[in-house]
């Protein structure tokens, strides 16, 4: 039995409102791109759906028609393998045509298995090698301060990703520089490639670690749109400190047979029938009386 302490999920009674029709729409876009290549890190993308939805729908100041608008907020997907999620929201927002999703990781597609800044409008940093995003975000947050821009910088990290020491180097520096325009979000889906985070490299007490590094923190149910919205609304959580949201999520959320199954961290050569099941599970429920 696993004996490592695990941060309890925030109180969830009554059951929180989970993703809505729009979340399902975004998940369908992820599956659409995944289906085109029959491969990808689908579970790692699905767990971020509501986080990305709230960020791009409500929080980030951004202009899909002007991706390099200087005063935009920056959002770095540091866990670059979750790019199916980023591609879904960027396509949905109009950064590039939805049809581009159908070329995912093909020879001449801009959308690879990890996102690249110079190929895809809206991608702020080329990531995929883990542990790079927070350092880059640190630099962007300092740049905004030096240039007296109000831009905020969001960095989405994976829980496996923060095994990397470079993350903690950057965290120390963010605390030192008192970057209250920097928000780190950890997608705490509790699984990394081999298996459970608790067995590969335990992270608890995780919130305490971030606090000790100088961050003001909040924990949310990462599939509860209201909770995520409330947390984002409260940013920055403290003056003179970087903020951290620890988002408790479920890997593969929304497609039950993927959920919490490390085999779905990355899959390739996925059969048509399996993809059909995903599509069916993500279909909108029939209208009442319809």
């Amino acid at each position: 039995m696993d004996h490592h302490a695990v941060t309890p999920l925030p109180p969830t009674e009554p059951a929180p409102p989970q993703g809505n029709a729009r979340s399902r729409h975004l998940r369908r876009l992820m599956v659409r791109a995944f289906a085109a290549a029959r491969r990808g890190h689908l579970g790692s993308a699905l767990s971020m759906t509501e986080i990305l939805q709230r960020l791009y729908d409500d929080f980030l100041r951004h202009r899909p028609g002007e991706p390099l608008w200087p005063d935009r907020d920056r959002c770095i997907l540091s866990k670059g393998h979750g790019c199916l999620g980023l591609y879904a929201i960027l396509a949905d927002k109009g950064y590039f045509p939805l049809a581009d999703l159908d070329g995912f990781s093909r020879f001449d597609s801009p959308l690879g298995g990890h996102p690249e800044r110079h190929r895809i409008p809206g991608v702020e940093a080329s990531t995929g090698a883990l542990g790079h995003g927070l350092g880059i975000g640190l630099g962007m947050a300092l740049a905004a301060r030096l240039q007296k821009r109000a831009s905020r910088v969001v960095v989405i990290l994976g829980d496996g990703e923060i095994n990397e020491g470079s993350v903690w180097e950057a965290a120390l520096a963010a605390g030192k520089h008192r970057l209250d325009n920097l928000l780190a979000i950890v997608d705490y889906n509790r699984f990394q490639s081999y298996g459970a985070v608790t067995s590969v490299l335990p992270l608890e007490p995780l919130v305490d670690k971030w606090r000790a590094f100088g961050f003001a923190t909040r924990e949310v149910d990462g599939h509860d749109l209201n909770a995520i919205g409330d947390a984002l609304e409260a940013f920055p959580f403290a003056g003179g400190k970087p903020s951290l949201i620890l988002a408790h999520t479920i890997k593969g959320k929304g497609v039950p047979f993927l959920e919490n199954d490390p085999a779905w961290h990355h899959q390739s050569r996925v059969a048509d029938a399996v993809i059909d099941r995903m599509v069916a599970l993500l279909a909108d429920p029939p209208q009442a009386g319809g």
Binding site: A125, H132, G133, I136, L138, G139, L142, A144, S166, L172
Partner: protein, 311 residues
């Protein structure tokens, strides 16, 4: 050379608000003038090279030109993935100033000896690698770095190196400089091997052998035309570098020669450090001599290489 370099960066910062300086726990008082004149653009970060390179990348993505300074091995070895992905893949104008290139830190041992930094960094697409030979050349280089596209690595020498560089033709990144002309041998150098080549040339002159010294401070992109021209008019090319035989100047010169259309290749010798961790301490000069990279060692090996053809 290092002081010249850092002073030149301070002057760049005086005239260009995009210039920022990032050090990782450098010696007390380093860059004090920069810190006093531009405190908001001066960052002394921790011993955290990976985060420092990421931070430089983030600043560069939003319009700054960061100059990052720490020990050469920590930039090239410790932070190699950040240099590759954050800087080279994004093609960002970050300047890496590596203290103690080559054997400068001889007393400190292999952990601090940057004997393969040029190989590691030259292998990265979009990276530029420069190894000036003296403080004057450094003074000419730094202003050229301001507008240079993409990341650039400057390999610093020990300091106090004899001044032999020339500004004719004017210094340009990627351009060779002819330091001396001769007929039989062409020494191709980077960094402080230029001084050793000049001294070896004097020794050879006593034996009636004349040598050119063609200095290639930019190892990547290497001045291809200068290499081809040297190969066309000398019997023997000798590359000299304070670096591993693998992946440095000699390898780059050999690559150019092999891909050239020259009807006949000259004899080539690559004098460098063998593929091994240095197993002595002492001084840079002692390690160079141990490796046969001192003027006498170079001249002796040059004569030995010439002999079969002369007899």
């Amino acid at each position: 050379m290092r002081k010249t370099c850092l002073d030149a960066i301070t002057r760049l910062a005086d005239r260009d608000p995009r210039v920022v300086f990032i050090g990782s726990d450098l010696g007390s008082g380093t860059m004090e003038a920069f810190r006093q004149r531009h405190p908001e653009r001066f960052f002394m970060e921790g011993i955290s090279e990976q985060a420092v390179i990421g931070m430089a990348a983030g600043l560069a993505m939003d319009g700054f030109i960061p100059y990052v300074n720490t020990i050469a091995t920590f930039l090239s070895r410790r932070a190699l993935e950040q240099v590759c992905i954050d800087l080279c893949l994004h093609r960002l104008p970050v300047r890496l100033i590596g203290n103690g290139g080559g054997l400068v830190y001889a007393p400190q041992g292999p952990t601090h000896l940057a004997f393969e930094d040029i190989a590691l960094l030259s292998a990265l697409p979009n990276m530029t690698v420069v190894a000036p030979c003296d403080a004057d050349e450094m003074r000419r280089l730094i202003p050229e770095t301001l507008a240079w596209p993409g990341p650039l690595y400057v390999r610093l020498a020990k300091g106090g190196d004899a001044i032999i560089s020339r500004d004719d033709p004017p210094f340009a990144i990627g351009r060779a400089i002819l330091l001396a002309s001769g007929e039989e041998i062409a020494f191709l150098t980077c960094g402080i091997m230029a001084q050793r080549a000049m001294a070896a040339r004097d020794l050879l002159a006593r034996e009636g052998i004349t040598a050119s010294v063609i200095h290639l401070p930019t190892v990547k992109p290497l001045d291809r035309n200068a290499v081809i021209a040297a190969a066309g008019c000398h019997r023997l090319l000798i590359t000299l570098e304070e670096h591993s035989l693998i992946g440095g100047l000699g390898a780059a010169v050999a690559d150019i020669l092999l891909a050239s259309d020259l009807p006949r290749l000259p004899q080539v010798r690559r004098l460098a450090l063998e593929d091994a961790f240095p197993d002595h301490y002492g001084s840079q000069e002692e390690l160079l001599e141990y490796a046969g990279l001192h003027p006498e060692g170079i001249a002796t090996r040059a004569m030995a290489a010439l002999k079969p053809r002369r007899s």
